[in-house]
Symmetry: C2
Subunit: 182 residues, 2 copies
């Protein structure tokens, strides 16, 4: 890629991250282009769809997911507490941008989605936590990590749409956790 192209691409992603944070994932793309000092054509050449741009914005966030899963695995306490802790972190992770939970959870399991790699990272991070609990024979084994991601993602989606805080979300996560534990 030519140096100027790289420069523009980086600036677009940077601006997009900020605008998405302020206005949610349905912010105007032309506005992002303008703020980045490029024409709409340039933005759309780099990112043909909104999801492609979102995917780029999420790039940095992947490491954060891995780290959070590591912490959840090392978390002290019983299985229920560890599972709940991960669920809360999961909700937090996918709720950084308004509309994020719906976007991410909707793309979960969709092989054709532009953000599929991000979903896979999330899903496998959750899978690791789940595997740990399974090794202790603490959770039922007829449920896949995809299903768990969808369940918790569903809670996060509702919380995002209804603007609930984590405190209001906790009891719902408890129900899911208790339904999952043996």
């Amino acid at each position: 890629m030519r140096a100027d192209a790289q420069r523009n691409r980086d600036r677009i992603v940077e601006v997009a991250r900020q605008v998405f944070r302020e206005q949610g994932y349905d912010a105007s793309l032309d506005l992002i282009a303008k703020q980045a000092g490029v024409g709409p054509g340039t933005l759309y050449r780099h990112f043909p769809t909104r999801d492609d741009l979102i995917d780029a914005v999420m790039q940095a966030w992947v490491h954060h997911v891995e780290e959070t899963a590591d912490k959840a695995l090392a978390h002290e306490g019983g299985p229920r507490e560890r599972l709940l802790n991960w669920f809360e972190e999961y909700v937090r992770l996918i709720s950084v941008h308004k509309g994020g939970p719906a976007k991410i959870t909707g793309a979960m399991g969709d092989e054709a989605s532009p953000i599929r790699t991000k979903c896979q990272v999330l899903q496998s991070a959750g899978g690791r936590v789940l595997d740990q609990l399974r090794a202790e024979d603490a959770v039922r084994d007829d449920v896949t990590s995809l299903q768990v991601a969808r369940l918790v993602g569903g809670v996060a989606t509702v919380a995002d749409a209804s603007e609930l805080d984590l405190e209001a979300v906790r009891p719902m996560l408890e129900v899911v956790a208790d339904g999952l534990l043996k």
Copy 2:
């Protein structure tokens, strides 16, 4: 209301119901107006926001909700089966239109939403089923009917977005049910 106004209003609702069913809740309102043979101004005078129109479209559906809850109460089988049966019916009820689960579940508990009455009907229908199970001391009592509506609505929202069929939804509903039962 003037007779011609009533006539137009009825026609708009009828057309909207059909278009929403075919295209989902984000169909073009101007198109609905055109198909109903009225100008956009007329549509927007009757229904200032999209949600107001959706609310009108849902009017007939209210009785169906009540009926379904009655059936669920009379359903034979143990608590788990009855609860699951209601959950499945609930998902079916709010999934008649694409985008419906998100719309309805997002408005749940929002006193200012134009579709609040519909949400209340749903919530109280679910409350009746829950109360029956509570009377049998079958479900935990630290969870409100609003929280249950959000949990199941969250599952429905994800299923709608990912185009999952009821068969794929069932295991997730089982987790929620098991987390709820004592």
